[in-house]
Amino acid sequence: MTQTRTNILSRLKMQQRDTAMPPMWQTQQGFDDLAEQFVAALTAVHGEPHLTPNLETAAQKLGEILTELGAKRVVCNDEVPLSDLNLAERWPAIQWHIVGQSTGDLRDFSATADAGLSSGAAAIAETGTLVIRSGPGKSRVATLFPPVHIALLPTNCLTTDLFTFTASRTGDLPANMTFVSGPSKTADIEQTMAIGVHGPKRFIVILYRET
C-alpha cells in the first residue's frame, strides 16, 4: 500500500515540470436579472421555478403546491427560512418530520414522504441550479428520497454562474454539497427522455425577492 503510493508518486515526480497554471478564468457571462434568468433556465430543463415578491407570498405558494400534491407526509430540513414559517401550525393536516427535531426515523420517513423541503446555500442563474449543503438540520435524504423536492430561498442567494459561485466560495466544504439542476431524468432507453429515475420526479424552487 505505502510502497504502491511511493512508487506511483516517484514515477510522477520524475516527470514533474515547472508549468504555470493559466490565470483564473473570469466569467464572460452577464444577466440583467438573475432571478429571471434562473426561472428561464430551470423551466427549460423541466424544473418548476416560482418567483414571488416576498417570504409570505412564497409561503402561500408553498401551501398551494402542497395542496395540489395532496401531500400528507412531508420531511423538512431545519433551516431558515423554513424554520420561521411554523409549518406545523400553518398546515396542521400534514404530518411533518422536521430534521433533527421530530422523533422517528428520518430515513424511513423520507422514504415514504410525499415531499421534501429545503432551502439552499446558493442558486446559479445561468443553469437554474440550486446548491444544497449537508450539515446540522440539513438532511441529504430529505431532498433525495421523496418524489418531490421543494426548495424555498431568497433571490439574494443567486449568483451568475459556476465561476462566480466558486470565486465567492469561502471556508471548508460540508461533507456533501449537491448542485441540483432539475428533476431526475434519463434517456438510457432508446434515447427517450424519462423523468424521475432515482431522484425526485418534480423539482420546485420558490424564490422570493424580499430578504
Binding site: L106, R107, P136, A175
Partner: protein, 466 residues
C-alpha cells in the same frame, strides 16, 4: 477482452449488418453531437474556454504528484480514507477488503468507467458481494451481461423491446415495451430497494478537487447521490489524472463536461463529497474511501502520449467518429471505445492486445475538433501505428508489401517496369474500368479497386496533356 485486427473486423462486420443497431447508433450519436454543438454555441467564448481548459489540464499534469498529495492531505483531514492502487488487481483487492471488513453482501454502484476498466464487478462477485449497477443504462447491460457500448450511454445498442424483456425476467412481472416511462418507473422501484439495502455504495469520480480533498460526481438520474448517501460506506474509484487543483479549475471542467457529453448546460446532479458525514450531520455515510487508480497512467506521463491523460470521459469524440458510428462500441473490445478508446485501450491494456484500434480511424480529425481539451487523438493514433511497426506487431504481409512498394518507388525505371507489367497483368481481371479481384485476394475487402490507368499521370504531365 482484446481487439486484434480480425476480431475488430469480425465484430464491426456484425454491427454494420445489424440494421436496428445502425439506426440506434446513428440516432443517438447524431442527437448527442447536435446537442453538444447547440450547447457550446450558447457560449460565444467556448473556444477560449477550451483553450484555457487545455492549458489548465496540461499544467496540472506537469505537477500531478503535488496535486495528488494536496488532495490526499485534504481528503484525510476531512475524514476520508485514501488508497493507492498500482493496477486493477490492487484496486479490486482494496475494495473487496473494505467490503469484507464491513460484512457487505450487496453493493450499489453508480456508473463508473474506472470500475469497468478494472472489472470490479467480477472481483466483488468472487468475494461474495453482489454488485448492482444503478445507472439505468448500466443496469440494463448488467442484466444482459454485456459490456458498455458508449461512455455516456452504455445501453445505446439496446431496443426498448429488449429492455422490457430483461426487466420482465428480473421483476417477474409483465412489462410493456411501448411505455418507456413505465419501464423507468419499474427500474426506480426495483433499484430503490437495492439502494436502501446496500451495505456499500461504489462510484467513480468525474473530478477530484485538490484544494478541498473533494470527489465530484455527475449524474442525471440521481444514482450518484444515492450511492453516496444511502449506504453506510462509500467507495470512489478514480484515475489519478482526474484532478483539478482548485475549485476555479473544477468550474471550467464542469462547465465543459456536461455540454460536451450530452449538450446540457449542467448535468442534473453534481455531487461533491468531502469526507464522511460530520458529527452533527443527520445522515450520510460513516466511511468514505477514495481509491486512486494508476493502472498504467503514470507511465504515460512525460511520454508522447501524456496528452491522453487530459481526457475527461465526455464521449464527444465517439459521437462524431465515422468508425464508431458504424462499428459501435463493442467492436473495440474495451470499456473505452471510439477514438479515445482507440488510443487509451492499447496504452493501458497493451498494444499487442488492441493492435486493431490504432487503425480503427480514418484520421478525419473530427474527434480533435470536438474534444473539450482539444486532445490531438489523430496524432497519437499515428504514433501508435508507428509503434505497431517498431514493435513488430504489424502484419508481416503488410510490412513486406510496404517494403516492396518503397523499393520500387525509389527507382523511376523500376517503377515504370512494375506499372507497365501491372497494366498488362490486370487485363484478365478488368471489368468496367474496375479490378475484379477474387474476394480472398482483394486487399480492399468488399470494395473494388480501380484499374491502373492506360497512361500514368507522370506520362500525361510529360506530354503536356494535363
Amino acid at each position: 477482452m482484446t481487439a486484434t485486427v480480425s476480431e475488430f473486423r469480425e465484430r464491426a462486420t456484425v454491427a454494420i449488418a445489424d440494421v436496428r443497431l445502425q439506426t440506434a447508433l446513428e440516432g443517438a450519436t447524431g442527437r448527442f453531437a447536435a446537442s453538444r454543438e447547440a450547447a457550446l454555441a450558447e457560449l460565444p467564448w467556448a473556444d477560449e474556454l477550451r483553450d484555457h481548459f487545455k492549458a489548465m489540464r496540461a499544467a496540472t499534469l506537469a505537477n500531478l504528484a503535488a496535486h495528488l498529495e494536496t488532495f490526499e492531505r485534504n481528503a484525510l483531514a476531512a475524514g476520508a480514507q485514501v488508497h493507492w492502487a498500482q493496477d486493477g488487481a490492487e484496486a479490486c483487492a482494496i475494495v473487496t477488503e473494505i467490503a469484507r471488513r464491513r460484512g457487505v453482501t450487496l453493493a450499489a454502484k453508480s456508473k463508473s468507467m474506472a470500475t469497468e476498466e478494472i472489472h470490479l464487478n467480477a472481483a466483488l462477485a468472487e468475494a461474495g458481494v453482489r454488485p448492482v449497477e444503478t445507472d439505468l443504462g448500466e443496469w440494463i447491460i448488467q442484466l444482459a451481461k454485456e459490456p458498455p457500448s458508449h461512455i455516456i450511454a452504455p445501453a445505446i445498442h439496446k431496443t426498448k423491446e429488449q429492455v422490457a424483456e430483461l426487466f420482465e425476467r428480473e421483476s417477474g412481472r409483465p412489462q410493456s415495451a411501448d411505455d418507456i416511462p413505465a419501464l423507468t418507473a419499474e427500474a426506480r422501484r426495483m433499484l430503490r430497494e437495492q439502494f436502501l439495502a446496500a451495505g456499500m455504495g461504489i462510484s467513480g469520480g468525474n473530478v477530484m478537487v485538490a484544494e478541498t480533498g473533494s470527489v465530484v460526481l455527475v449524474t442525471n438520474e440521481g444514482n450518484g447521490r444515492m450511492v453516496t448517501t444511502a449506504p453506510p460506506v462509500h467507495v470512489a474509484v478514480i484515475g489519478i489524472e482526474k484532478i483539478a487543483p482548485a475549485w476555479d479549475d473544477a468550474a471550467v471542467w464542469l462547465s465543459l463536461l456536461a455540454r460536451s457529453a450530452t449538450g446540457q448546460p449542467m448535468s442534473i446532479y453534481t455531487t461533491v463529497v468531502t469526507g464522511p458525514r460530520r458529527e452533527a450531520d443527520p445522515d450520510g455515510p460513516e466511511e468514505v474511501h477514495v481509491v486512486l487508480l494508476d493502472n498504467g497512467r503514470s507511465h504515460l506521463l512525460g511520454s508522447k502520449y501524456e496528452e491522453v491523460l487530459q481526457c475527461i470521459r465526455c464521449g464527444a469524440c465517439l459521437n462524431v467518429c465515422p468508425v464508431y458510428r458504424e462499428a459501435g462500441g463493442h467492436a473495440y473490445g474495451s470499456p473505452y471505445s471510439g477514438p479515445i478508446g482507440a488510443v487509451i485501450s492499447p496504452l493501458l491494456f497493451g498494444l499487442d492486445k488492441y493492435a486493431a484500434l490504432p487503425h480503427a480511424s480514418s484520421l478525419c480529425g473530427a474527434c480533435k475538433d470536438v474534444c473539450p481539451a482539444r486532445i490531438d487523438l489523430p496524432r497519437m493514433l499515428l504514433e501508435l501505428r508507428a509503434d505497431l511497426v517498431e514493435q513488430g506487431l504489424a502484419p508481416t504481409k503488410e510490412g513486406a508489401m510496404e517494403k516492396a512498394a518503397a523499393f520500387a518507388l525509389r527507382y523511376d525505371k523500376l517503377w515504370r517496369v512494375v506499372t507497365g507489367l501491372g497494366r498488362v497483368g490486370q487485363r484478365p481481371l478488368l471489368k468496367n474500368g474496375k479490378l475484379q479481384v477474387p474476394d480472398q485476394f482483394n486487399p480492399a475487402g468488399e470494395r473494388q479497386l480501380p484499374s491502373l490507368a492506360k497512361k500514368s499521370f507522370h506520362d500525361l504531365w510529360r506530354d503536356g496533356e494535363v
